[in-house]
Symmetry: C2
Subunit: 274 residues, 2 copies
């Protein structure tokens, strides 16, 4: 059954990477998209508060800021630098009017995953005062296990939920991304648990292509792959989640398309498959 | 602490793919390798029983046959074909003198993973009479979640252990491969559980490179990546496992090397890192 309404459709700026944030905002609004998730690189050289107003003037909700994280590092100095960068991300989200920052938590190749996980908890705890002061939340995004070497030591929703419980802060929740989590036999029960923890802050959609030919930039548009999108969305909404469905696609192939045509494809794919 | 002894060193024929099985057997034996795991493609056109004798005449233990599996399919006819191929693999293992067949269980893109898992259980159950008659066992190999679309719907050791329990057969166990499982936060406890189930049949080693540039053929030689090999081996041996450490590396880069030099590197990497 197609989605008649686009009320919950959000697109990440990185999905239409060739466009500036100003172009993306105008085009998204004209296409009926209701939300935008902002990647920090698109803010370079802009007045952030003014950019937030521009987005809202287009009728767009600012859904989240991508991204903070990357807390683990080999030295104390580098871990302090990561904390500083996350404080900056929280300040940017506050200026932009984004309710939360998505965290790609980080990992150091060769450092035990248990140590990286400890450094992630320490890093999040170190920036919580900034969250309390600004009201900006943090959304831990568990990443696919194929990124456990260098991008995130948090690789299942169960681990993210465990971290939420360990941190016991109303400012820490989770971003559920189907690309990272669709394979997990515990996914349904962990989504339900995330809901009970009142921690489900964001829901990201795309698809997994067969074959996938690049570790980072070969995601599929919804309907191009094997992820049971309707099933997972039903699990997410069974928790009471009524937030945006955020289209986050990294794809060299799709970035090479005419982006106006691509935007129409995204809207259609959302109607048909999400 | 380096491994002084090569007593537990086994190499998969696919690791030195450019070599025929006859060449591999002679070279492995000369290098002090004690075990060989045979990939079925190397047996094409050979008398299998005679090849088994050749391997043993070189002083090599035949550790396992790779591989069976790929049980899920869209049609009844294709699932029956898969069962037939697995019966053939069991017969080949028996003729070769290999104690077990490693199973890459299979998945069908777009078919629910739960359905593929059911078809895997049904497929294994269908070939168990052949195992009972021949004494050949089956080793379920959980594959990395990045292969959940098309290669295996069994992606954690926990799932493999669950299947062993569901099948309740002395002829079904598990192959633990560090490449697929190293990231799993439940790995230590699931290895221990596998041991308690008396199901740990095989232990495969290689390494995970950063960055990894190909989904199939960019594995690292032990020491080239981030997998905590000594730690995982300690967990495996804590179960009482005293079997072979099987070097299974798919690598376009390493296959392009002089294979005699590569074999020396494998032996050294085994001494230094496994």
């Amino acid at each position: 059954m197609p989605n008649a309404s686009l009320d919950n459709l959000c697109i990440h700026t990185i999905t239409t990477k060739p466009w500036s944030i100003e172009t993306a905002a105008a085009k998204f609004a004209r296409a009926g998209v209701k939300g935008i998730t902002v990647w920090r690189d698109t803010l370079a050289g802009r007045d952030i508060a003014q950019t937030g107003r521009l987005l809202r003037d287009h009728g767009l909700s600012v859904v989240s800021l991508c991204r903070g994280g990357f807390f683990p590092a080999a030295t104390v100095a580098d871990r302090a630098k990561a904390v500083d960068d996350n404080r900056k991300a929280i300040a940017e989200a506050h200026a932009l009017g984004a309710p939360h920052v998505v965290l790609v938590c980080g990992a150091v190749p060769g450092q035990p995953l248990t140590e990286s996980r400890k450094q992630i908890l320490d890093g999040i705890a170190a920036v919580l005062p900034d969250c309390q002061a600004s009201g900006v939340k943090l959304a831990i995004e568990p990443l696919h296990p194929m990124y456990a070497d260098a991008r995130s030591a948090v690789n299942t929703l169960g681990q993210a939920n465990d971290m939420v419980q360990a941190l016991r802060s109303p400012h820490v929740g989770v971003a559920v991304d189907v690309y990272h989590l669709w394979w997990d036999p515990a996914l349904e029960q962990e989504i339900a648990r995330c809901g009970r923890l009142k921690a489900l802050l964001a829901y990201h959609v795309c698809d997994w292509r067969t074959p996938t030919i690049d570790f980072l930039n070969d995601r599929g548009l919804m309907g191009e792959g094997c992820i049971p999108l309707r099933q997972i969305r039903a699990w997410v909404e069974a928790t009471g989640f009524r937030g945006f469905n955020e289209v986050e696609v990294f794809s060299t192939r799709l970035w090479a398309m005419d982006q106006d045509e691509y935007l129409m494809k995204i809207v259609q794919a959302y109607r048909d498959h999400v």
